[in-house]
């Protein structure tokens, strides 16, 4: 322990020395020396400099040296021209999670956008609204909230891609709790939107609703970056992050998107090996013999994916075993859910419905159950079937989801080919 402490003191001292030198250079610049004159000294004096150090130094200049903010800002352009090369050369990302495209990097990138939206735009408009509740401001708030609803994708990626892996490592509690909070944030945003749409003059009510959203969203960012992501980083392997990165697009990104695909630095990228074990290219060869015919595994897979419905199958132990992957899934499914229990794939609020249904299926009280929900321009028909063998033993449940809006809209008859 003692050597650790010494180390820290040592680096701390080095840091202040470097800061001192940087400060002197800035002052020389300020006194009128040219960029070229100080450049050489800078290169010798400063081995490695991080962005954090620069900002610490700027802060020191302002507070300790009493240099006004405007002066420091004026110097900014000069010192960035010197520092730029150095920062970029020396400030290499220390971990893979700081590289663009890494899921953690993307999550943090989104958080910065969310912060901007919530702490700047939304908070500004919320203040304006308290003074002037004109339709103009209401419209602005509605626009902010609609944008903010985009964080559904950020939360969904967390819930459907990161949580399953954490659960594999035995982490359940925090993920369940966080999922519940995610849901309450989503609900709060929707609630605030409807309050604003049917505005009844209650400024205080809206103010409270918006303040609640702002604090909850900020709190979630804090929890993600200080607890969830460090926890995930300490548990998941690089391959797992790679899978998460590759499946992220299925769900989409919030307010921004990774600038490039993350390719971890390592010798041979075993991309093919990875695909072989999980992807479609790894489909086993061979044929499946049914009572009513024989098809190849490839044919079977394509056939299921061409059905205009989404299928998900869970086995008798409630574990997700398969889902079909058609062109337009109604509810996003990612490969990460395979092998996961269904209880962990549904938001906590709808969990009791799912559990009751499975209980009835297992007890033989029911064989099927249907739900229908209008979602935007879709009319989603969700059917659950208990799968039983010849002896009536329960072997699992099939979820069958279909957008029946086009079917419901059919009228009259059509007996000729389309053009």
């Amino acid at each position: 322990m003692s050597e650790l402490i010494n180390n820290r003191e040592h680096t701390a001292q080095e840091l202040t020395e470097r800061q001192q030198t940087l400060k002197e250079i800035i002052k020389e610049l300020h006194a009128g020396k040219s960029v070229d004159e100080v450049k050489a000294r800078f290169a010798v004096a400063v081995g490695g400099v991080s962005v954090a150090e620069i900002s610490a130094m700027e802060h020191a200049l302002m507070t300790e040296e009493g240099i006004p903010v405007s002066e420091v800002q004026r110097l900014c352009s000069v010192h960035t021209s010197i520092f730029k090369g150095s920062i970029e050369d020396i400030h290499r990302p220390s971990g893979p999670e700081e590289q663009p495209g890494h899921p953690v990097h993307t999550f943090k990138l989104e958080n910065r956008e969310i912060e901007q939206l919530v702490n700047f735009k939304l908070s500004l408009h919320a203040d304006q609204f308290q003074k002037d509740d004109s339709p103009k401001i209401i419209y602005k708030l509605l626009e902010d909230l609609s944008l903010l609803l985009d964080l559904d994708k950020h939360y969904s990626r967390k819930e459907n891609l990161v949580f399953p892996y954490l659960e594999r490592y035995g982490i359940f509690g925090p993920t369940k709790v966080m999922w519940g909070v995610d849901d309450s944030i989503r609900a709060a945003i929707k609630e605030a939107k409807s309050l604003l749409t049917e505005y009844n003059g209650d400024r205080e009510q809206i103010g409270k609703a918006l303040a609640h959203i702002m604090s909850e969203v900020n709190e979630m960012i804090f929890k993600e970056e200080n607890i969830l992501l460090p926890m995930a980083l300490s548990k998941l392997t690089e391959d797992e992050w790679l899978k998460i990165a590759r499946e992220s697009e299925e769900i989409g990104f919030c307010l921004t998107a990774p600038e490039r695909e993350w390719i971890p630095e390592r010798a041979e990228e075993p991309a093919e090996a990875l695909e072989q074990t999980e992807g479609t290219s790894g489909t086993p060869q061979g044929f499946v013999r049914f009572e009513t015919g024989i098809v190849s595994v490839q044919q079977l897979e394509l056939l299921l994916n061409h059905l205009p419905v989404d299928l998900t199958f869970i086995d008798e132990n409630d574990i997700v075993r398969y889902f079909s992957h058609g062109k337009e899934r109604i509810f996003a499914r990612t490969k990460a859910v395979i092998g996961r229990t269904v209880q962990n794939c549904h938001p906590p609020q709808s969990m009791h419905v799912v559990e009751k249904l499975l209980e009835d299926f297992k007890a033989g009280r029911k064989d099927a159950e249907d739900f229908w929900i209008p979602i935007k321009d879709k009319f989603v028909y969700i059917r659950y079937f208990a799968i039983r063998d010849a002896e009536d033993r329960y072997l699992g449940t099939l979820e069958f989801t279909q957008n029946i809006a086009p079917i419901r809209a059919l009228e009259g008859q059509k007996r000729i080919l389309s053009e």
Partner: protein, 75 residues
């Protein structure tokens, strides 16, 4: 002798050393800590200082409450 807690030590360590820390934290409003699995997982990353920032609890209140239970918090 005083029992000492560090601001930046994981809650998991603190509770392992002094189990009563858990109840004091709940008393202070950190209810999540009592949920199953939280301490062993999130608790390894959560510290007193982060908790204060997150829950916006007053630092003095935390310090005073712990003091009443015989703990000193150290930076």
């Amino acid at each position: 002798m005083d029992k000492i807690l560090q601001w930046d030590e994981p809650i998991f360590n603190l509770v392992n050393r002094y189990p009563e820390v858990k109840d004091i934290m709940v008393e202070l409003g950190f209810h999540d800590i009592a949920k199953p699995g939280m301490l062993q997982t999130a608790g390894r990353f959560m510290t007193l200082s982060k908790g204060i920032a997150l829950k916006k609890v007053d630092m003095e209140t935390v310090q005073r409450t712990f003091l009443q239970h015989g703990f000193t918090i150290q930076k």
